[in-house]
């Protein structure tokens, strides 16, 4: 079992003929994801990696009944592409693109909420249910260990590091979910924790957080209610206050969002907190063993 996507998910790729889009389309096909179509205005009728290209999402919906779309479109066109996918009735939309204006992000999330669409990103590495379906840009080789640990993360390469450590220690994953690194993204930690809590295929959860914002503190409130163990990795322990760390979300404001406040809230909620990547597999194994 897995959350959001699995072996039956029918995936389309928006921006399928661009450099990024076509490369990752190929990678997803190679991974084994059911990629049923690519979207590229004006290029309908062509093929990319054996996958048919359509002019619009609506055309793809008509012809190949997709469930989910992944967007590789330059930031200026993301609002249009996301609206297109949501408006066409796609129920899971993954937005890889970074540098999307935050007003566009708010507009996308408002429409998604109205239509009941799940959005991952913008600025996410995507989502992968190992062995079943990958929608994202993560390296195939690192995400090939199916198992029963759910991972939810804000940032990309950091979660590769964590998953690398987990897999090397023989701890497989049910689904690895990238929320996206921007201040406005579609899902929160709590949204995904609820899915993992409900998923019979998930027995423990790794939350990969970082300083800034209060998402980890809010998640702690929900973790208290969870029956499944949670291990949290937090980045940013060494960061000086107030500096902008690339992720817009990592601005420390008024003493909130610090490493200490997050670690404290998570620990109080019963989660184990790791500050160094190699501590995570051990804590997970302890949690699962004890349970």
């Amino acid at each position: 079992m897995a959350v959001i996507i699995d072996e039956n998910t029918r995936v389309i790729v928006q921006g399928a003929t661009g450099k990024q889009g076509s490369f990752h389309l190929g990678q997803m096909v190679a991974y084994g994801s059911k990629v049923v179509g690519g979207i590229s205005p004006g290029k309908g009728g062509q093929e990319v990696e054996g996958v048919p290209v359509f002019d619009t999402v609506a055309e793809a919906v008509e012809k190949v009944r997709p469930d989910a779309s992944i967007i590789f479109i330059p930031s200026q066109g993301v609002k249009d592409a996301a609206f297109e996918a949501i408006d066409a009735g796609i129920k899971t939309v993954v937005i890889i693109t970074e540098h999307v204006p935050v007003h566009d992000e708010m507009a996308i999330m408002a429409l998604a909420k109205e239509r009941g669409t799940i959005v991952l990103g913008p600025n996410t590495f995507g989502i992968v249910s190992p062995g079943k379906c990958k929608m994202g840009i993560m390296p195939n080789a690192v995400f090939n260990t199916p198992g029963n640990v759910g991972v939810v993360a804000r940032s990309g390469t950091l979660s590769y590091e964590i998953v690398f450590n987990l897999s090397n220690a023989g701890v497989g994953q049910s689904t690895v979910v990238g929320l996206g690194g921007d201040r406005v993204v579609g899902l929160s930690f709590v949204d995904v924790l609820k899915m993992f809590e409900a998923d019979p295929g998930t027995e423990a959860v790794v939350l990969v957080g970082e300083i800034g914002g209060n998402a980890e503190e809010v998640a702690s409130q929900y973790i208290k209610e969870m029956t499944k163990p949670v291990v949290a990795f937090l980045a940013g322990k060494s960061a000086p206050p107030g500096k902008r760390m690339g992720h817009a979300g990592a601005i420390i404001e008024r003493g909130k969002g610090t490493f200490a406040s997050k670690a404290e809230a998570l620990t109080a909620a019963g989660a184990k907190v790791a500050g160094l990547p190699w501590q995570v597999p051990q804590l997970i194994q302890e949690s699962l063993g004890r349970k």
């Binding site: 708010m106 590495f125 840009i137 804000r154 950091l158 990969v208 300083i211 914002g213 760390m245």
Partner: protein, 371 residues
């Protein structure tokens, strides 16, 4: 991207929000001239992109153009929190009866703009207790329609003619917030003076990701250091820090984690550099050149190859070493896509690659200490 107060004032004024008479001055003489045009008591306000200006002595008062000149002269030779004052805003002095606070801010967790308003405005707004703050989440498709502004003033407990004026300001602030892709539009204080209100101080932060919507140029200035600007042009996130190890990683989260691991081993990073995922050989080489230019005691690269290919990274190091040279010790952690080829290339130029991050970081800390 923060705007100077005088820019926010201009934008608010152009959009129908009442603002004080006056304008920016870049010299003491110009400040005197503006005071002369105003023809009455003025306030001279340092233009710096930091808070707490009032408490730091950055605001002065003058009754005559001559006094204004003297005040501006002093300010234009000072610093506030390490920031040089390069211009001052000279405005008419407003009689303050009451100070209101109104702001529209982006609330990332709610995915919505949030109006924050209070009748307890002024310098100590950050200490105002929750019960005196009105918080009203906006629907992005509705914004501040008249009814929204009426509900906000009702919750503030303001009534009568002043309430109507605040409603007008709120509606116009929404127009500005939207038109400028703002992350923050703030008026503090919104002064009640007689039967009028006036935006005595304004702040705006706009989203530089939306720069493309300003084909004629953005309506604000950059606030980066030279190195940060250079990095920004390459699409790299770069922040200067206080340590001595130059750090490069691909991804903000892993860069932050790398800094934590450095600290764990007793070292300190000289910078935060997220070279991004999917960097090409050329981009990585340029990032490395920036790093070298900051003269660290050692360089640590933590590369988890995904889209980024390990051989590209290794080639970049080889190229830079050959062209301009790398004058300090280099430690590289290299795993992922095309790892073996990358390790081989590095070996050829005499750099050892690590696959475990803890070992790599420990080595870099040691080298920096020895340097």
């Amino acid at each position: 991207m923060k705007m100077f107060e005088f820019m926010a004032k201009d934008i608010f004024g152009q959009n129908g929000i009442p603002v004080p008479q006056g304008r920016v001055a870049y010299s003491a003489d110009e400040a005197a001239q503006v005071a002369r045009e105003i023809g009455g008591p003025v306030v001279i306000k340092s233009q710096v992109l930091t808070g707490g200006r009032g408490k730091a002595g950055g605001i002065k008062f003058a009754d005559t153009p001559e006094e204004a000149k003297q005040a501006a002269e002093v300010l234009l030779q000072s610093e506030i929190r390490g920031l040089k004052i390069e211009q001052v805003l000279v405005v008419e002095k407003i009689k303050i009866e009451k100070e209101i606070y109104v702001a529209i801010a982006l609330d990332g967790a709610a995915r919505k703009p949030l109006v924050i308003a209070s009748t307890h405005g002024g310098m100590d707004i950050e200490e105002v207790p929750e019960e005196h703050l009105v918080k009203y989440y906006l629907d992005i498709n509705i914004g501040i329609m008249p009814y929204v502004s009426r509900e906000i003033t009702r919750q503030m407990g303001v009534r009568g003619e002043i309430a109507k004026q605040i409603q007008g300001v709120l509606q116009k602030m929404w127009q500005v917030f939207k038109a400028y892709d703002a992350e923050l539009a703030e008026i503090n204080p919104l002064v009640i003076s007689g039967d009028k209100i006036i935006a005595a101080d304004g702040k705006m932060t706009v989203d530089d990701e939306a720069d493309f919507r300003w084909p004629q140029g953005t309506p604000y200035v950059e606030e980066r250091t030279e190195v940060e600007k250079k990095a920004h042009e390459l699409g790299i996130s770069y922040v200067e820090l206080d340590g001595d190890i130059g750090v490069m990683a691909n991804g903000a989260g892993i860069t932050m984690a790398t800094l934590d691991i450095i600290q764990h081993f007793g070292g300190a990073a000289k910078n935060f550099m997220d070279a991004g995922g999917g960097s090409s050989m050329e981009a990585t080489a340029k990032a490395l050149e920036i790093l070298i230019s900051t003269k660290p005691k050692a360089i640590l690269a933590n590369i988890f190859g995904g889209i980024t290919r390990c051989d590209d990274v290794a080639m970049a190091f080889a190229k830079v070493k050959e062209s301009i040279g790398i004058p300090v010790p280099v430690v590289i952690r290299l795993v992922g896509t095309n790892q073996d080829e990358g390790v081989r290339i590095l070996k050829e130029i005499g750099i050892d690659a690590y696959s475990r991050v803890d070992e790599a970081v420990a080595k870099a800390v040691e080298l920096a200490r020895q340097a």
